[in-house]
Symmetry: C2
Subunit: 176 residues, 2 copies
């Protein structure tokens, strides 16, 4: 499974592509950041993010796009920009028919470090190890995008089993 | 000036097109709502909003798009959806080179009713009167989209004068 992870943000939108299946080794295909100038108008910034995400999808043809699920607990200004950037990423994937998965920051941290409360350095260190890189990807948004992709590859089988169980239960319910 | 007003929302995105200039009578060209099913996946809903906004822009060729500025004070869940829908509207306009203006709900209410704390009914009544309609547009999101367009037409001259003053001041600063 090839997954494009997106850590959404207006100023820096982390992107990373990982290839792999659960239980086997993972391969990083690419990592980077889509940046937009903070003094540009919001509409222009969203267009730049769209062009950036499109270019990554064109180049790597991912089967899935994993985007960080945005919450509104933190800084209000940042959260609005994050929600808007994530909307563009989801739009780019969905209009090509590529499934979108959302994972919370704590799901991602728990997947790659074993703890939902791990810090940035720990996430960066585990991403480096799991993808056999020579150094942690910089900036942190890039490492987070790879962590999102890894999280999705590892969680997908469990999610599929859950969906199968639900489907089985539903079909049993119908024949009962 | 022809303005497309957008009252962003995931479930109901109000859209309304108004033609006019400040100080002269206004004409409504169209009003409606772009709806998306609440049980669809978020990516699919954003694609539907994109298609809806694109269709309105294609049909009415607005010179400006006025979008409600989203704040994060209210219901957290709603606000995230509103921010995401507004991102799609701004993206659709900006990538065609159509300028986007943002107005706060209280600016819009003050523009059409004289009070920034007017209620929905008051806004609907004034939109009906100003556009010489036979009844208030339903649902409220549609009326709000028209109010946004009217607000923009009326505020634009003041904003232009302000920008000219700023530009003049800046050019004087350079020659000093």
């Amino acid at each position: 499974m090839r997954v494009l992870g997106v850590d959404p943000g207006l100023t820096r939108c982390g992107v990373g592509v990982v290839d792999g299946v659960a239980g086997r080794s993972l391969t990083m295909l690419g990592v980077g950041v889509v940046r937009t100038p903070a003094d540009d108008q919001i509409g222009a910034r969203l267009v730049l993010i769209e062009q950036g995400i499109e270019a990554w999808i064109d180049e790597y043809q991912p089967e899935m796009v994993a985007v960080e699920r945005v919450f509104s607990q933190h800084n209000v200004r940042t959260v609005m920009g994050t929600a808007q950037a994530s909307a563009v990423a989801m739009l780019c994937a969905s209009r090509r028919g590529i499934p979108v998965a959302l994972h919370t920051p704590s799901e991602v941290k728990a997947a790659v470090t074993g703890s939902g409360r791990a810090d940035k350095a720990q996430v960066g260190a585990m991403v480096t190890r799991l993808l056999r890189l020579s150094a942690p990807p910089k900036p942190a948004d890039a490492a987070d995008a790879l962590a999102l992709a890894i999280c999705h590859i590892w969680r997908a089988p469990a999610q599929n089993r859950l969906q199968q169980a639900v489907a089985l239960h539903a079909s049993k319910g119908r024949t009962r």
